[in-house]
């Protein structure tokens, strides 16, 4: 019945990560809250904002309409919300002593972080796809290559907020952290011009480029206009990603430090 390490088949760190990732996705999918955020909110936002006046004078590239602009923006907003709350889940797991328990298993703490980020971003990708489906039937039009480019940028760009969620999850106590973060992401999305475009003459226009959502918002919509990639957006996205990653690493190190 019993055997020692030497005779037991093992699968190694990669196998552990795969199994954990599968379970983590399962967990997220049966959590009602994350389901609502993922599957209802972004398409709902698309339906709400599709007729917003702010979008009417968008200049779109050939074969692309203003609805596509709304759809892509909402898909990114959905991904950011989902990814933030998924990654911030580390707070509750720390509170339950789970991360401490993991430290007495061979799983490295970095692998745990990887699992959390990959699972959140996968769910974020689901939010993007769903919003695209609703958008497609809701009248959004753009060339196939643009669909693909926007989708990929949204998914990759959500990494910035996975790092944000992790940072917050390691920084703050669990409590109702996730419930607090969702409105914050919404606020940031408004401030960064993701929900409704910032018009050049509003006082907002000055600060919007500094907001963490601004960079990814501009990047995800860049393929729509067919023009180049705005440099300030790249700087914004990279800088915020670096800041959030640094913050998460700092807190993570402290969390896993031996007392």
């Amino acid at each position: 019945m019993t055997s020692t390490t030497s005779t037991t088949p093992t699968t190694g760190q990669a196998g552990a990560i795969r199994t954990y990732l599968g379970l983590e996705l399962n967990r997220l999918l049966r959590d009602r809250r994350s389901m609502l955020l993922t599957f209802l909110l972004p398409p709902l936002f698309f339906l709400i904002f599709r007729s917003s006046a702010a979008y009417q004078d968008i200049t779109a590239g050939t074969g692309t309409n203003a609805l596509a602009y709304v759809m892509v923006s909402m898909a990114l907003y959905g991904a950011l919300t989902v990814v933030t709350s998924g990654a911030a889940g580390v707070a509750a797991e720390r509170a339950q002593g789970w991360t401490r328990q993991l430290r007495v298993t061979p799983l490295s703490p970095w692998s745990y972080v990887l699992v959390k980020v990959l699972a959140s971003m996968t769910l974020g990708a689901v939010a993007v796809v769903l919003t695209f489906v609703v958008g497609r039937y809701g009248g959004a039009e753009m060339p196939l290559a643009t669909w693909i480019a926007c989708g990929l940028i949204a998914v990759c760009g959500s990494f910035v907020f996975a790092a944000f969620g992790l940072f917050m999850g390691y920084l703050l106590p669990a409590g109702n952290l996730v419930q607090v973060l969702s409105p914050i992401v919404l606020l940031l999305s408004f401030a960064g011009g993701l929900i409704v475009p910032v018009s050049a003459d509003s006082w907002f226009a000055g600060i919007a480029p500094l907001v963490p959502t601004y960079g990814v918002a501009e990047l995800v919509r860049a393929p729509l206009a067919g023009g180049g990639v705005p440099q300030v957006a790249v700087v914004n996205a990279v800088a915020w990603a670096a800041i959030f990653v640094a913050g998460a690493v700092w807190r993570f190190r402290r969390d896993t430090a031996r007392m």
Binding site: S3, T10, A16, T105, P106
Partner: protein, 247 residues
């Protein structure tokens, strides 16, 4: 592979201080201990004796203030990374929204084990709870789950911190039956407890700890002889109180 030349556990001059508002608290105060592979050892001591702190250092969860601790001749973190050690911690360590089966299967995967979870659930007596959410388990059932997690890890060294707290009598008996079974197959087991009967019935060796120091170390008969009594409880009280008086 476990090196046969290294003891399962070795502590030399182990000290752990915590900084508190009223100055430093010495939770572990110069512990010397060697545990050979295959031994079943009980850490016995009153609350606050330093049992948990010692186990935390053996697991690499806490850094010694001074002294060394080695597990199979390695740094504790190394032995943990190699899957040689598993632990039942005194508190927490479970995710409420996972099911019992998921928790055990994940633990198996984290240790790189590919065996099915079922037999381990049976040995821990929670096979019929496999589909239940962890948050819905009673304290004793959670303790059985922690035990199943430790079993499925199939470690060479098992560290248990008050493992039967909250378990009913039948649970305890099954628990220790399974532990003895594994020990017979060569597994080293170290457990902290303040149940004297548990310690004397199931351990080969009792390590009596008081104020972070070892005050007695040996079989139950030896510990009782040390205190010149034939009652383990009397010995426990005498040895742990003497220590206090000596300070």
């Amino acid at each position: 592979m476990t090196s046969t030349s290294s003891p399962a556990l070795e502590a030399r001059g182990l000290v752990k201080e915590f900084r508190g508002p009223g100055g430093a608290v010495r939770a572990v105060d110069g512990l010397d201990l060697v545990i050979r592979t295959g031994e079943v050892v009980a850490f016995l001591g009153p609350n606050g004796a330093g049992k948990t702190t010692t186990i935390d250092m053996m697991l690499g969860l806490a850094e010694p203030t001074s002294g060394i601790v080695r597990v199979f001749g390695k740094e504790p973190a190394g032995a943990v990374a190699d899957g040689q050690v598993a632990a039942v911690l005194q508190t927490g360590g479970l995710l409420r929204d996972l099911t019992v089966r998921e928790t055990v299967e994940l633990t198996a995967a984290l240790f790189g084990r590919t065996r099915p979870a079922r037999p381990f659930l049976e040995r821990a007596g929670i096979a019929e709870l496999a589909g239940r959410r962890v948050g819905k388990l009673s304290g004793g059932q959670q303790q059985r789950l922690r035990f199943a997690m430790a079993l499925v890890a199939e470690p060479d060294l098992l560290l248990l911190d008050e493992p039967t707290t909250g378990m009913d009598v039948a649970g305890r008996r099954e628990f220790w039956g399974a532990i003895r079974n594994d020990a017979a197959a060569g597994r080293t087991v170290v457990f902290a407890t303040h149940y004297l009967d548990e310690a004397s019935t199931y351990a080969d060796r009792l390590v009596l700890v008081s104020h972070g120091r070892i005050v007695a170390d040996g079989a139950a008969a030896e510990v009782m002889a040390l205190a010149s009594t034939d009652n383990l409880e009397d010995a426990f009280v005498a040895l742990t109180t003497d220590e206090r008086a000596a300070r």
